[in-house]
């Protein structure tokens, strides 16, 4: 009973946040709604006792990806009037894409492959560890696909860095490693010299002319 109530609560929040993401005028608000949608999705997974997936979703998407997303979106200088001008021009295309997507989703949900044999989750034995079971499968049965996807991500990362790297010529950048490695001798030269006799403070005061 509680689970059902919670499911509908999270589902409503998820749908509402998803809708708000695409309707929000301000991109920062949209990004925050997307974050809320991810979070509600994670809560739904948690209800299905897929705690590893749920926490991983929060950790990776909400905790890292969306932070960087927000980082970029906040620095955009968007002219909302300019953006809204082309709205009606693009509506037919957008509607076509949306209809195709909806039909595709409907086809998948109604195909025989998507049919769930038993409505409901299998009861797991006490002490069943979701994370352990997942790790066991990844490192045995699905070892090769897992490693391949890791390699793919690594290549993607290197490519992204290589594409965006640029050296500015006029920058006054100094390598911190070189700076840290400096010794006292590089910066300060201590000169030995004999002490000179100087008038003491008292004598100076006496010599000053009286006003």
């Amino acid at each position: 009973m509680t689970t059902v109530v919670l499911f509908y609560l999270f589902a409503v929040v998820l749908l509402g946040a998803g809708l708000a993401t695409i309707t929000a005028k301000n991109p920062v608000h949209a990004a925050l709604f997307l974050m809320l949608a991810f979070f509600s999705g994670a809560c739904l997974w948690m209800l299905m006792k897929a705690e590893f997936l749920a926490v991983a979703l929060v950790l990776i998407y909400v905790g890292a990806v969306m932070v960087l997303f927000l980082f970029v979106v906040m620095m955009l200088d968007v002219n909302f009037e300019e953006l809204r001008k082309g709205f009606w021009k693009h509506v037919p295309l957008a509607v076509t894409v949306a209809i195709i997507m909806a039909v595709e989703m409907g086809l998948i949900l109604h195909s025989r492959a998507a049919e769930v044999v038993v409505g409901g989750l299998p009861e797991q034995a006490a002490g069943y560890n979701n994370a352990k079971a997942l790790g066991y499968l990844i490192y045995t049965q699905y070892f090769l696909p897992f490693q391949l996807s890791a390699a793919l991500l690594l290549v993607g990362m290197i490519a992204a860095i290589a594409l965006t790297i640029r050296k500015r010529k006029n920058t006054k950048y100094i390598n911190p490693a070189v700076q840290i490695a400096t010794k006292r001798e590089d910066r300060v030269r201590i000169v030995k010299m004999a002490a000179e006799a100087r008038p003491t403070v008292g004598e100076v005061v006496e010599e000053q002319p009286k006003a």
Binding site: A56, G63, A64, F71
Partner: protein, 353 residues
């Protein structure tokens, strides 16, 4: 009387309403000491740094200045809360709450003693990492919603810094997961009591995982935006970063969250690396040898002292050097040590069997 007690227990354990009430009682039991801890952490910080700089620190309000935190809270509560006219009002007031919420929520899985934990979940360690990674949102939103250049610069710095150091922190925790074979925090503490060194100080994770321990703690300093990594606030450069437009209690919430995160990082490092509630003495000694909450508390206090010590000692990092430390020093160190530990565990010299 006993019957009434049994009825009450049944209500708290099996009735939905009772379970909710019971959970709320447990949350309050954790939160109240935590908030008091934060209050006295501010006092301890001023005292410790005071003595390090040959001053006395607060000593006017109450005996030895012990009521100083309450005087501070009262002052902040009574101050007016001002929002800039150009601010994004809703987000401006949500931001401090968003900073505080994860700092509190992470305590749900923190074990204080075997069985004494609010939620004993299997993925406790991952949960702490996920929840603490949400704390940066409050800072970013505060910076953006304030509509101020200084605040925005602070938010940008915070975003880059926290995301960078989270990686090193995560890698350090991967080493802990590898040797414990579990993500359950209670299980990780128990595991440190076993092994070849037989549950003594030497079998705790800090020794075999020393580089990871050091990286974890320093990354924790950066993660909580504490000196010497406090470029987010950087008083001399960007005045107070994301907090510049806040006043009164909304300003105090940022500090509450910062100190709570400090206590959390200290508690995590004591649980992950210093054996949590395990005693450093052999079990044959009657009271001192027994595992107890006192050890947990002392270890957390010990780690917290490092936070204050670091603040009193080190000058602030320059921003590019801070990034270099995170990416070019800490991440390689942790990666090498993880591979080393992995190889070590496969040999016959493994400590963790």
């Amino acid at each position: 009387m006993l019957d009434l007690f049994k009825q009450l227990m049944d209500f708290l354990h099996y009735n939905i309403l009772g379970m909710v009430i019971y959970a709320i009682i447990k949350i309050v039991v954790i939160m109240v000491p935590l908030i008091l801890g934060v209050a006295y952490m501010t006092y301890a910080e001023r005292k410790v740094i005071g003595y390090m700089q040959i001053r006395i620190g607060p000593n006017r309000v109450g005996f030895f200045g012990l009521l100083q935190p309450f005087a501070d809270v009262l002052k902040l509560l009574l101050k007016e809360i001002i929002a800039p006219s150009a601010a994004s009002k809703a987000l401006f007031f949500i931001a401090p709450i968003l900073v505080l919420m994860p700092a509190l929520a992470a305590w749900a899985v923190m074990p204080f003693f075997p069985g004494v934990v609010l939620a004993d979940v299997n993925v406790g360690l991952l949960y702490v990492m996920a929840i603490t990674s949400l704390g940066v949102y409050g800072i970013i939103i505060a910076g953006w919603a304030s509509n101020s250049k200084y605040a925005f610069l602070g938010a940008m710095r915070a975003a880059a810094q926290v995301v960078s150091y989270e990686l090193a922190m995560g890698f350090a925790l991967i080493g802990v997961m590898m040797v414990s074979g579990s993500l359950n925090i209670s299980e990780i503490v128990m595991q440190q009591g076993r092994g070849i060194a037989g549950g003594s100080v030497l079998s705790w994770n800090w020794l075999p995982l020393l580089p990871l321990f050091v990286v974890y703690f320093i990354a924790g300093l950066a993660e909580t935006n504490r000196a010497p990594f406090d470029v987010t606030e950087g008083e001399s450069e960007i005045v107070a970063g994301h907090m510049i437009e806040y006043s009164g209690m909304s300003f105090a919430l940022f500090f509450l969250a910062e100190y709570m995160n400090m206590i959390l990082i200290s508690a995590m490092s004591s649980v992950m690396f210093l054996g949590g509630w395990l005693s450093p003495f052999p079990a044959s000694i009657p009271f001192l040898g027994a595992p107890s909450f006192i050890w947990w508390f002392l270890k957390v206090a010990f780690m917290l002292f490092f936070f204050l010590w670091a603040r009193a000692t080190f000058p602030r990092y320059r921003y590019d050097q801070l990034m270099r430390l995170g990416w070019k020093v800490f991440i390689p160190v942790t990666l090498v040590w993880i591979v080393l530990i992995g190889a070590w565990m496969q040999t016959s010299f493994s400590l963790w069997k």
